[in-house]
């Protein structure tokens, strides 16, 4: 099979008049009002594509940017109808009439110009503070016309970092499963559900995709040999290989934080037990040994512990095993069915899904099992996965027969549906930072 390397290239150059801001917005401060931001219609700076394509491109990159700005939780978009600055005004700080923008209700402003050619798109983009009348961020991006949205995700990441001092998640991606073709296959998209690519096409059952810590490989379960095996797909080269294909089940593989090991469940001829296999030495360490079910491992970010689901107490509950001492501790005691634990990037929390009645909801608890808090309250919600900055959780939500993906803030507020266009999506996995 020929490889997928995809090549999207982005080149960022700071534009003139760069003011090196320190932390501009303090995210740890108590919730502040969203800052009004005006996004002026991007200017066509010349290029060689037909006007219709140009308009579609402009709409797409502007929509991407606005959607990222709103998603950030920092900004609200000033209605285009309120813009009063002469559209002919230039893009630089000196050419901008900040008084007009303040009159429009904009505290901040983005102006950009773009050049579209057959083989590349160039966008130069600036962020201004309308009160200080200063350019805070200016960048220029050159990228493939195949995924112009990513240019804006790169800018959103850089703007976010410039303003908050924290890395943005706008260039991150998600893996998910959909049975839309009649078979469950694995898909990948940008964090916002756009830019979808189908990764598996084996027409069997493919489940539970998971990222490698460097974002270059994925693990997934596939029935392509007739039973559940664990496979690893290299996203750059397209190389697909079996990680574990033993008799019985080979499921739930998760990379260790250093990428050298994989935790998974193997049943062999006996019972489904948790194992850790070393990818370099092939060493196989069995972590559990009981008559019950032990599945769905999630590593602590320091790689010292693994939380997992076990039914050894009668019903599915979440346990944690210390890899140093091999001691196992039970974390959940409530709920009839606790499943799909996901350790937060800062190591402090574990998100999971819990059911009392057949309908699941997303919960979080401290990593020691205390302080369990319910985050979702309607539909049936499963498979939580943290954004790399820990600010958001993506999960699948179903009501009736159909399932879709939602992203909420990690405190359970601001849930929004992610539309991929594929339909019936389940088992989302949010990537690490990909830069």
């Amino acid at each position: 099979m020929r490889l997928f390397i995809s090549v999207l290239v982005i080149l960022a150059v700071f534009l003139s008049g760069e003011a090196r801001a320190k932390v501009y917005i303090d995210l740890s401060a108590p919730a502040v009002e969203r800052i009004p931001i005006a996004v002026q219609e991007f200017k066509d700076l010349g290029g060689s594509i037909p006007p219709e394509t140009l308009k579609a491109l402009r709409d797409e990159i502007m929509d991407t940017l606005k959607s990222d700005l709103v998603f950030s939780g920092i900004f609200k978009i000033v209605d285009k109808e309120a813009h009063i600055e002469d559209p002919k005004a230039g893009l630089t700080e000196a050419e901008t009439n900040f008084k007009d923008w303040r009159t429009s209700g904009a505290d901040t402003l983005i102006k950009a110009g773009f050049t579209a050619e057959k083989d590349r798109v160039t966008v130069e983009i600036r962020f201004f503070d309308c009160f200080k009348e200063k350019q805070i961020v200016g960048k220029k991006y050159i990228g493939s016309p195949n995924s112009p949205r990513r240019l804006m995700h790169y800018f959103a990441d850089q703007l976010y970092e410039e303003l908050t001092g924290r890395k943005g998640i706008f260039t991150s991606r998600i893996l998910f499963v959909s049975g839309k073709t009649g078979n469950k296959e694995i898909y990948i998209s940008d964090y916002d559900g756009k830019n979808v690519i189908q990764l598996t096409r084996n027409r069997s059952i493919n489940l539970s995709p998971q990222w490698s810590p460097d974002g270059k490989k994925i693990l997934y379960i596939s029935y392509k040999k007739g039973f559940p095996g664990l496979y690893m797909l290299d996203l750059r080269t397209g190389e697909d290989r079996a990680v574990s294909n033993k008799p019985g089940i080979n499921i739930g593989g998760r990379f260790s934080p250093d990428g050298n090991k994989i935790a998974l469940t193997l049943s062999g001829e006996k019972s489904p037990e948790l194992h850790v296999i070393d990818l370099n030495t092939g060493e196989d360490r069995k972590l559990t040994d009981n008559y019950g079910i032990d599945v769905s491992p999630t590593w602590s970010p320091d790689g010292k512990r693994i939380a997992f689901v076990s039914d050894t107490s009668g019903n599915p509950h979440i346990f944690v095993v210390d890899l140093g001492t091999a001691s196992v501790k039970r974390l959940t005691f409530d709920g009839k069915y606790n499943s799909s634990p996901s350790w937060s990037p800062d190591g402090k929390l574990i998100a999971f899904s819990r059911s009392d009645s057949g309908k699941f909801n997303i919960w979080v608890m401290r990593a020691n099992g205390s302080g369990a808090t319910q985050l979702t309250f309607s539909g049936s919600n499963r498979n939580p996965s943290w954004s790399p900055d820990g600010r958001y959780i993506i999960y699948s939500s179903s009501s009736g027969g159909a399932s879709s993906l939602f992203i909420m803030q990690s405190d359970g507020t601001g849930a929004r549906k992610i539309t991929t266009g594929v339909g019936n999506e389940t088992s989302p996995a949010w990537s690490p930072y990909l830069q």
Binding site: G17, T115, S147, S208, S271, N315
Partner: protein, 176 residues
């Protein structure tokens, strides 16, 4: 105003099919608003080719199943112990299997939709293994029975009610 390029970040991204071969070249661009970009490395973007070709399908969506004459076994929610009604059925199944020495079977483990994918694959495995173990105690050679768990991936009934769920919590026999 200082005109200076602070940094040139080139990020090459993957995922999208296409092909390798990055050509590096230096470009000089003059843009419309008086900004001059100094020599910057541009990695040429390659066109996205198609998606991966379909792999050989190994598992057929609805394989034609040979009739075994064996009776399927049903389970309680989240349980993998064989119920009394299952024991009766398995005793009959065992007689049939011991009388047909050349018969080989796959025991499929199935679950209802009320659970999570990975847990249900393990649960289906436990169910099918429980059936296999019982049949072994009744004289059926383990080598004639293969276990495959489908979790909740191949339901027999698609409705969302207890009748359907019960129908889906089963160990199902398929001739091998």
């Amino acid at each position: 105003m200082k005109r200076r390029i602070f940094s040139v970040a080139v990020a090459v991204f993957f995922v999208a099919m296409g092909l390798s071969g990055c050509t590096k070249k230096a470009v000089r661009t003059d843009v419309g608003v008086g900004l001059t970009e100094k020599q910057a490395e541009v990695v040429k973007a390659e066109p996205v080719k198609g998606e991966t070709p379909a792999e050989q399908a190994v598992v057929d969506k609805s394989p034609e199943q040979k009739v075994t004459g064996l009776t399927d076994i049903f389970f309680d929610f989240d349980r993998y112990s064989v119920r009394d009604d299952g024991v009766k059925a398995l005793d009959t199944d065992a007689k049939l299997l011991t009388s047909k020495k050349d018969m080989r079977v796959v025991i499929e483990g199935h679950c209802d939709e009320r659970g999570t994918d990975e847990y249900n694959i393990a649960l289906g495995d436990k169910r099918a293994e429980a059936v296999k173990r019982y049949l072994t105690t009744r004289g059926v050679e383990a080598s004639r029975m293969k276990v495959v768990s489908y979790g909740n991936e191949r339901p027999f009934c698609g409705n969302h009610d207890e009748e359907c769920w019960q129908s889906n919590r089963r160990a199902h026999f398929v001739a091998n």
